[in-house]
């Protein structure tokens, strides 16, 4: 049985037994290469669920939509490794109760998917430990290193050209599971911390604020990068910050629901090289 069949069946069981009230998965998209988030509430709709290599989106952000988990009922969700890490972070930041989440986990390879054993977010320590060993990812390392080797002026020019394209649609924020703030700092106007205009300065401000806010929290799911309608390589910023955090604090985000949040906790032996 394919993993798609296996998870359709599991979703149907979860729904008909009443164990979960909802399954968040992937449905067919407009074109064959697209998959879209799908919300399934009854067993007879589970045949609409898809699971294949086109299922790229990290769906965990939907878990913190307003009120979804307030009734304490469980929700089933299709999650790749990044999604599992996101749920861990959301739990460690008290945004959800991890035991309310029933995971149908999968690993995505180039052309196929394979099942991840387990259904609670605590069930994946070996997979997560292996991920940490690989970190930080491999795919984009060449580009990260290229930017790393630039002079500060070249690097500034590179990002200036990228941020100049930004139209402040906030797709990066809206698609990000970590951007759950009810009111984002850019939406405050008393005081106006960040300029809302999408000129290059305002765009720099926004993207830097977001980079800092995601440091030690981003799971590199690539959602912001894929969502960006003007193709700013946002993953590179977050990758760089993740490398920094790993290096300085040996912190790899989303290892468990009990993991301390790296920039909101203090240890006596934290490096303090940034204090002049």
């Amino acid at each position: 049985m394919s993993i798609q069949e296996q998870y359709r069946k599991k979703a149907a069981e979860l729904l008909s037994s009443g164990e979960v009230k909802l399954v968040i998965g992937y449905g067919a998209g407009t074109t064959p290469d697209r998959r879209r988030p799908l919300f399934v509430r009854s067993a007879d709709e589970t045949s609409k669920l898809h699971l294949d290599a086109a299922c790229e989106a990290n769906l965990s952000g939907y878990l913190v939509s307003e009120g979804l988990l307030a009734d304490k009922k469980k929700v089933g969700i299709f999650l790749g490794p990044e999604g599992i890490r996101s749920v861990n972070i959301l739990a460690s930041e008290s945004q959800l109760d991890p035991d309310q989440i029933v995971i149908m986990g999968f690993n995505r390879e180039a052309e196929s998917v394979s099942a991840l054993e387990g259904s609670n977010v605590r069930d994946f320590p070996a997979m997560l430990a292996a991920l940490k060993e690989q970190a930080p990812g491999t795919g984009e390392q060449a580009l990260v290193e290229r930017i790393e080797n630039m002079t500060p002026e070249e690097r500034f020019t590179f990002w200036q050209a990228e941020f100049e394209k930004c139209i402040k649609c906030y797709a990066c924020r809206q698609v990000c599971p970590m951007c759950y703030c009810r009111r984002c700092i850019v939406d405050n106007n008393q005081p106006q911390w960040v300029q809302t205009s999408s000129h290059t300065l305002g765009n720099f401000e926004w993207n830097l604020v977001r980079a800092f806010h995601l440091s030690g929290r981003c799971v590199e799911c690539g959602g912001c990068d894929r969502a960006c309608p003007v193709n700013i390589p946002l993953r590179l910023i977050n990758r760089r910050m993740a490398m920094e955090v790993l290096d300085a604090y040996d912190h790899f985000s989303g290892m468990s629901p009990d993991q301390e949040t790296v920039l909101a906790s203090f240890k006596k032996d934290d490096p303090e090289t940034f204090i002049l």
Partner: protein, 337 residues
Amino acid sequence: MIQILLRDKLDDCITRWHAAGYDVIGPQKNNNVTRFAPVEKASELDLEIILPDRTVKELFFPQTEPMFRYRIGKQTIDTEEYLPPGRKRIIFGSRPCDASAMAIDDPLFGWDYKDAYWFQRRNETVMVTIACTASDDFCMCTSLKLAPDSTLGSDIMLRPVAGGKGWHVELLSERGREAFDRIEALLDDSAAEKEPIANVPKRFDLDVCREWLADPENFESHFWKEISIRCIGCGTCTFLCPTCHCFDFQDEGDTYSGIRRKNWDSCSFALFTMHTSGHNPRSTQSSRWRQRIMHKFNYFPGKFSMNSCSGCGRCSRQCPVDMGITETLQEITKVAK
């Protein structure tokens, strides 16, 4: 008489237009995004794409533009206006959907009060549009009763000739006359077959949708919540929409001097309609998506006799969660029948 602009004369065209004082602007790929930018040579143009990632809208209504610089003194406030520069321009190679969208927004920006920023740019711009001979799964102009060769909003229409050698040239408006005259000598009158225009299938029944939307009963329909449940509330569809025209004013500076700007804004954002009191008439994402659809296919046509959509399909093509106008109107077509 059929007149053909041969592709290898395009550089001469641009040179002549430049000599006549026109800026020439066309679609170019830069930094992984295709958008309209000034061109010097034909080789910079990216004319083979279905349509650019970003629309021509931003050439008339930029994502951010300064309106005034203010300086506040003891007894005075000086305001210096930044109106558009007043340079003649030719936008070369926009698609009929984008060009139509500019004409669709004209009555809105002129509704009793004229928006000088919009009309100054409109008046100084000649739209040279290229009819589409290719489309993708998201194009939907025919569903909007437009076509891959609609002339709405265009001043000069180019229709590709078979073999990609060039284009049939048709002058459509007085505004385009000077630009046309400048290149007329370059045109070739040899007969050439036009390439058939793109076959864009009809994706939904607009009349059925409009009737359904106009029925007050359907305003509260559960449909809106179902269709928008995966909407994440970003501004991609509105900012990449050639007809979406909503904006915000923002002051940058301090209480002594600074700049008041006009910025794109989006009905997708929760803050868009939020009162200072905290009351928000459109407090849910489903009410915001409903507003967007209602505005385009019910309110706007009621006021200006046109749909506020030209069928470019960018909303669906670029949506991070694969939503869009097409899906919604397809579903309405289904439920209405």
